[in-house]
């Protein structure tokens, strides 16, 4: 591509961003910060200016923050055309047009897709429609759930003990609302952090008065004659009477609108290269379509070039910045998105943070603190190297472990660390569930082939 094309693009090109939330906004700001002077359009199906989601399952549910006051702060003027409250419904790659639900079409020279994910709904549609069956992804969801919690329900039922479900349970307990949590796996957070840490999370929940039901699934939701949910039926044949059900079964990537577009988009997200350029369905990189945030999946050198989908706030920001930068610069100035994955959560008064990719780990070592005190750092190992770390109320050490991951430090961790207890001297199995079993909300999805896992035999077609 001639260099002057990029110069022209920066001066007067048209950039369209679909998905006006965290990644979309940060990308827009970066484009302007890096000197993009052309026309910028942000398309978002929610009727609101970009807002922050993490508070929705934390302070908003506790009434400590209004769901209407979680707007993301603007870091600079972006001078954009906002198309809010209208969904993108299609993409014409060759004509470079985005189709909108209201019939409009918007042309672009460069497109950024940041449509994120949505909450996976309850699988039986008629039951999902019962009054009191809630999801938690948007501001409206949070406002609704908060009102229901405030009304003092007899009992809330949370389906799925991933991060989001566990945070909801925590909010319920803090508000004095009885809550039951059902989880297919043996403990909360196992998909994200494995069974050893999951057991700690389980204690945390039960000690805080959560009625935790591991190893069960919900078989059906029962309504009353006027269509309000009133009971939950479980695979162990038990029935729990409730007023509110929060379905917290992980997420679905917002890629439906791209069906038939020719982009490499599907239920696992949109594949892109390390520079955030989307692949088409043939695996060929596009040069004018970029992806960022929860909807993206991209290869990461630190993790064996696995394609990672990270439902992490920090990833959305970092990837948006990289995508925006790469959208308006010459090939040689492009940067790879090699962000160190980092995720935080807080529940039952405990701060949880992870770096790296815990679900890739097969072994775990508690290098600082102790599981029993629920204050510790756990290090995950994979094939002899440090691949991730998690902390409970010990966030300040994680930077160190992030650097260990970056340099592929050996595992087990042989050197002494402060506050190493006897339990932390030997690695144990991290105890992740069989990846073929569905668990919700691991927040990281590994979807590539691991280089260690090259059973794939490739037979090129002969002409």
């Amino acid at each position: 591509m001639p260099a002057d094309h990029v110069d022209w693009l920066r001066r007067e090109g048209r950039i369209v961003i679909v998905g006006a939330s965290l990644a979309g906004l940060r990308a827009a700001e970066t484009l302007r910060a890096e000197g993009f002077a052309g026309e910028l359009t942000l398309i978002g199906d929610e009727p609101y200016e970009p807002y922050d989601r993490p508070p929705l399952s934390k302070s908003v549910l506790l009434g400590k923050a209004s769901p209407h006051r979680t707007e993301l702060p603007h870091r600079r003027e972006i001078d954009a055309k906002w198309r809010l409250g209208v969904a993108a419904t299609g993409l014409d790659l060759s004509a470079k047009r985005v189709k909108l639900a209201d019939g409009d079409e918007v042309e672009y020279d460069r497109l950024l897709i940041a449509t994120g994910v949505r909450a996976r709904p309850w699988l039986k549609a008629d039951e999902a429609r019962l009054d009191g069956v809630c999801l938690l992804r948007t501001r409206d969801d949070a406002a609704d759930l908060y009102q229901r919690l405030k009304a003092g329900p007899r009992r809330v039922f949370v389906i799925g003990a991933g991060f989001a479900g566990s945070e909801v349970a925590s909010a319920c307990r803090e508000m004095g609302v009885p809550v039951t949590v059902a989880e297919r796996a043996g403990a909360p957070l196992v998909g994200a952090l494995g069974g050893v840490i999951g057991a700690v999370a389980a204690d945390l929940q039960t000690e805080n008065g959560v009625d935790l039901r591991p190893h069960v699934t919900v078989t059906s939701l029962e309504g009353d004659p006027v269509g309000r949910v009133r009971a939950v039926h479980l695979s162990d044949e038990s029935v729990v009477e409730v007023d509110v059900v929060v379905v917290s079964l992980g997420s679905v990537r917002n890629t439906d609108w791209l069906t038939g577009s020719g982009l490499g988009a599907g239920p696992r997200g949109i594949a892109c290269d390390a520079g955030c350029r989307a692949f088409d369905f043939r695996g060929i990189v596009t040069d004018d379509v970029f992806v960022a945030g929860d909807v993206a999946r991209s290869p990461h050198a630190l993790f064996g070039y696995q394609f990672l989908s990270l439902e992490h706030w920090g990833n959305a920001v970092a990837q948006a910045e990289t995508a925006a930068h790469n959208m308006i610069c010459h090939g040689a100035d492009r940067r790879p998105h090699l962000w160190m994955p980092a995720f935080w959560s807080s529940m039952f008064g405990v701060n949880i943070k992870s770096v790296g990719v815990p679900p890739m780990g097969d072994q775990l070592m508690i290098t600082q603190g102790s599981l029993a005190e629920r204050r510790f750092v756990g290090v995950y190992g994979y094939q002899g190297r440090v691949i991730a770390a998690v902390s409970f109320d010990n966030t300040r050490w994680l930077e160190f472990y992030a650097r260990q991951i970056e340099r592929g430090a050996p595992f087990p961790v042989e050197f002494p660390t402060m506050d190493r207890r006897p339990e932390g001297r030997q690695p144990v199995a991290a105890d992740f569930p069989d990846p073929s079993l569905p668990t919700h909300g691991p927040t990281v999805t590994l979807t590539g082939y691991s280089p260690a896992d090259q059973q794939l035999v490739f037979h090129p077609a002969r002409h």
Partner: protein
Amino acid sequence: MTQAPLFHQITDFANRANPYPLYEELRKNPVLHEEEGGPYVFSSYWDIEALLHDPRISSDAANLAAGDDELSGPEATGLPPSFIRLDPPEHDRLRRIANSSFGPPHRPRRIDNMRGELGEIVTGLIDGFGDARQIDLVDQFAYPFPVTVICRLLGVPREDEPRFRAWVDPIVAGLDPDSRTSAESQRTAQEARLQLGMYLNGLVEQRAKEPRDDMLSDLVNSHGPDGAMTTMEVLSTAVLLLIAGHETTVNLITNGMLTLLRHPDILQRLSQDPGLSVKIVEELLRYEPPVQIVPQRTNITDIEVRGVTIPKGSRIWLVLAAGNRDPERFTDPERFDPDRGDIQHLGFGSGIHSCFGAPLARLETQIALSELARRLENPRLVADPPPYRQNAVLRGPRHLEIAFDGLRQAA
């Protein structure tokens, strides 16, 4: 002419007024070890930042290689080390208990609620300049202000200041790495800590019987999930808070006013816009941090930094003030620029020992500087550089004479 080792030049009082050229020298050799048994000196931002988060680095003097620890180890009659000289899990437990009476989640507004009170103290002190047209900022303002505040917060009678100052001075002198070599000054410091602890013990006993709304009462009566502090732990914590609660803020305020007087355009902006004080204080913490060096760390195992192996038990100095002006980290680091957007300085340290009192120090300094800027008419330095305190770690002017044309009315 033979040059003294760099780390001796830093502690040498002759270089106190402007150590920054020495720090620049230091950064040329980011892992500096000049003398057998001497410290490993770190001066690059990223190295310091990494070491502050490294679980192989200890703050407990007992982990120093033999020979060094007898100086700072608790003596039979001494107070136990405060949490600043402890490692997890003890450090975490004591700091959490202390924090439960100071900050979030238990007392999220304790500091912010002091805003009005801080303003009144500042107004009172400035009014107290009276008709004078020249003041010593240190003695008349920068010292009495934080002392009054920490006394109120802890519940220590302000009138006792002359008494406890006699103990505070030798304790602070004991922190100066120059006097580290002198066992004598270490003993004096230990003795003074004990004396100060005994003085505070009187107050603590009283608060155990009749609790008030102050931190001493909270410390003696703590019954959180971490249990209670022992009396000795209460005393060493109180000694720490009393000293750290003012010794550093004095310097921050004084360094701040000195810097502003050297940058009259910014002083002028501040006098119009008190809100600018937030950015100014952050930049000051980078540019002239009150704690210049953390000289009290050691490694519990051999570690490697930039290819150099630091043997277990070495003395480690983290020169925060050098890291804060590291050109690998900050653009134009030698410039005082409150408008810089990116400011993740090391002024309050980082990691588990990052400054406990940071929210208070920030607020005090913001209020102090914006009020001084607003009320002093045409202020100017009488001597530049001013005379400095002896200490290389807690660095700041001993006096700061300021002349001005008059006082504007209090708001």
